[in-house]
């Protein structure tokens, strides 16, 4: 789930009518100083970080003057929280707090609805005091249960005006959460002040990853919770995923030491199968460089792009692919995608791919045959080969190989160039090149035979048989055609699908 910072959350609350302290966002000591001056000198400075207990790590300070705000800001901007450097601070009005409350909204999977928790007992340590908390059932469209809310408020020893204000704040918090499709919202504390206001003094909000596309206003770059700032490669992968929704593609770097000598590129398929397969390879003593999942009947192009992203990581000693082992999808599409990626980088680290499932025989044959001349061993396995067996086999191959990759870039054949005279057809995801000059009778027949009806024989040379726009959804079929021609010893087709961010330099 994508997380919002305190100041972003507070802006969302404010736009739904919940009062929040006056605040400014500062990313330099001077900005913090200026902000404190605008607030009259006294202010609270807080780091913007995804952690509880900011106070304990020196991330909250009460300052008496703009200069003090500057000094504290300078110190705080050097803090690291986990893998994240602190880059932003909130400088806000100091509140005359009278009473503290706790208010949250989360998703109750058993009720299939949101649930709100409200406590009148002050917020800190709330997790340990379940009995002090009122649980409010919430309807997904109409909000918290009014009767229960009123009953809870009636018992809290509040002034009449406060009761009405807090009831309103609870309803507004629900509206705020609903408006951005929050996965969770926590206002800890919600406060009453000595001058009679009800305000959100803090705010933590997360947004449903699958709804982020409907909320461009939130400026969320990668709709995913990572334990580190997104790396360049994760950005590249995320954009591939966003551009092609045929099946799932999920990529994340995993923590490891830079000089780890047992680093593996991991390519899973399916959430549950991936988790199980990760165990099989880590139990052989390897470290996973990344997590990756292509599943849900992905296109060959998506599997190809995923493999390229995985292979661009330096320091790999091998490539391990495995899913549930009994995939419902036709596995040969994955085999074509993997074969294309392995050929383009001239793979020299061993790969073990468990392709069990529908059409596994054909899938394994495509992969191993297409890759038989590569410097590395590429082996494919089926559903009756257990993950443990594949893990052990992988270790044997890595031990025999001794090669460590430096991060592969792709190789493009010479005919994939406008001056070569090759046939070039553009489609939505790239271009396909056919080296017509090199096409003898056999090559032409191969292109037509494996081209899924997209090409015809025109005077002994391959030509496009369909309107150009038909190619748009046919990238998988084109990749299949390329690999089949390669297997038959006539590598006359090249599907050119540069990955933005990965293959940019070669174009310059």
């Amino acid at each position: 789930m994508a997380r919002l910072h305190e100041y972003q959350g507070k802006s969302v609350l404010a736009s739904h009518g919940i009062a929040v302290p006056r605040f400014f966002v500062a990313s330099t000591p001077d900005e913090a100083r200026e902000a404190a001056a605008k607030l009259g000198g006294r202010a609270v400075v807080k780091i913007q970080a995804w952690t509880t207990g900011r106070k304990a790590i020196g991330g909250v300070a009460l300052v008496q003057s703009p200069d003090e705000a500057r000094k504290e800001a300078e110190r705080m901007l050097a803090i690291r929280v986990g893998n994240f450097p602190v880059t932003e601070l909130i400088v806000e009005e100091l509140l005359p707090i009278e009473r503290e409350f706790f208010l949250s909204l989360s998703i109750d999977d058993a009720a299939r609805a949101p649930v709100m928790l409200l406590s009148f007992d002050g917020g800190s340590g709330i997790e340990e005091r379940a009995d002090a908390v009122t649980r409010l059932p919430v309807h997904v469209t109409t909000g918290p249960d009014e009767a229960m809310l009123n009953e809870a408020l009636g018992k809290a020893g509040l002034k009449d005006t406060e009761r009405a204000d807090i009831a309103r704040a609870v309803r507004q918090a629900f509206e705020a959460a609903r408006s951005i499709e929050a996965r969770s919202l926590e206002i800890n504390p919600l406060v009453t002040t000595s001058d009679g206001r009800v305000m959100a003094a803090d705010c933590r909000m997360t947004v449903d990853d699958y709804a982020v596309f409907r909320h461009p206003e939130l400026g969320i770059e990668i709709a995913r919770e990572l334990d580190h700032p997104p790396t360049q490669l994760e950005r590249i992968a995320y954009h591939i995923e966003q551009a092609d929704h045929r099946g799932t593609f999920y990529f994340a770097r995993l923590p490891h030491e830079e000089n780890d000598t047992k680093l593996v590129g991991f390519h899973g398929a399916g959430g549950g199968g991936s988790m199980m397969s990760m165990d099989a390879v880590t139990s052989e003593g390897f470290t996973l460089a990344n997590f990756c999942d292509t599943s849900g009947n992905p296109s060959a192009a998506k599997v190809y792009a995923a493999a390229r992203v995985i292979l661009s990581q330096p320091g790999l000693v091998g490539y391990f692919g495995s899913g549930s082992g009994v995939a419902s999808q036709e596995q040969y599409w994955s085999a074509y995608g993997l074969a294309k990626a392995f050929l383009e980088v001239n793979l020299d680290i061993p790969a073990v791919i468990r392709l069990g499932g529908n059409s596994e025989d054909r899938a394994v044959e495509i992969l191993t045959d297409a890759c038989k001349d590569l410097p590395a061993k590429v082996e494919g396995y089926k559903k009756d080969d257990t993950p443990r067996f594949c893990g052990t086999r992988f270790r044997e191959l890595v031990e025999a190989s001794g090669v460590t990759s430096e991060g592969y870039t792709r190789w493009v054949p010479a005919f994939a160039d406008e001056s070569s005279g090759a046939l070039c057809v553009e489609f939505s995801r790239g271009r396909v090149w056919i080296d017509v000059g090199a096409c003898d009778e056999i090559a032409t027949r191969l292109v037509v035979e494996h081209g899924s009806g997209l090409f015809k024989d025109e005077g002994g040379k391959p030509a496009l048989a369909v309107p150009m726009d038909v190619l748009d959804g046919k990238d998988s079929e084109l990749i299949a055609c390329e690999i089949e021609c390669h297997r038959a010893g006539r590598p006359v087709v090249f599907v050119d699908m540069p990955i933005p961010g990965l293959d940019d330099e070669e174009a310059d």
Partner: protein
Amino acid sequence: MAILIDSTTRVLVQGITGREGQARTRLMKEFGTHVVAGCTPGKGGEEVLGVPVFDSCAEAMQQAGPIDASVVFVPARFVKGAAIEAIQAGVKLVMLVPDRVPLWDAMEIAACAKQHGAEFIGPNTLGVLSPGHGVLGMIGGKAESARSWFPKGPVGIISRSGGMTSSCGYYIGRRGIGMSTLCHVGGDSVLGLRFPDVALKFEADPETRAIAVFGEIGGSQEEDLARLIREGRVTKPVCAYIGGAAAKEGTRFSHAGAIIEGNTGTHACKVRALREAGATVVTSFGELPDAVEAMMKRLVEP
């Protein structure tokens, strides 16, 4: 008997004219599912693989009904509309196959289903398959594979992972043990039918004699199932594997539902709850078929 789908279930496919809709309709029909109608707005009057297509669910219901179940193959952002349309037209079981359905959409579908007394499975489900009867969704892929992988028999399978639903079925089937129904509840955090709901259906199904479970970290489905066992509402033996032992709090892989939030939904929590309730929990997936085999032997010779 079986649960959720049997030989009498009449099925509507929403999004039947799309790429996935067409491909999956073919597979469902080949497996023996009675696909009696399809629905794609604006394509009423067409036919897909001999199945009549209607503009709306209400129309399909009227002209090709009765309809017992609908399978939804539309892009994620249109799932809410499609599901609510089916439920309002009177369909009592809706399968939501697409991945990436927004959470608040899933909750709205749940509210609508509750109001109309309907059930749904998913989102992000591979489907439900009853050997010898039919399949809703895409478990097994090819009909001939599905037939050879999943023999008919006494074990009910419930899983939070699509691929692992098939794996459980296949590896259990290799031991000569068949299954009544395989049900993938979906990988998301808000789901229609959850483990306890499906387990109660297996409990009521005379053909099912034992239940195999592929659970995952996150959420409370496994704990809720454990409670039913403890309360004596699920009395058939349960054998489970819980994936994600190595995951840290807050790390998410690719199932939206497989995330540990705070101190709930941890691997240890789930294993303990199920074991204390009397279920068998194996620690590696490879042990599941052995455990199921042993469980079946105990049933025969207690």
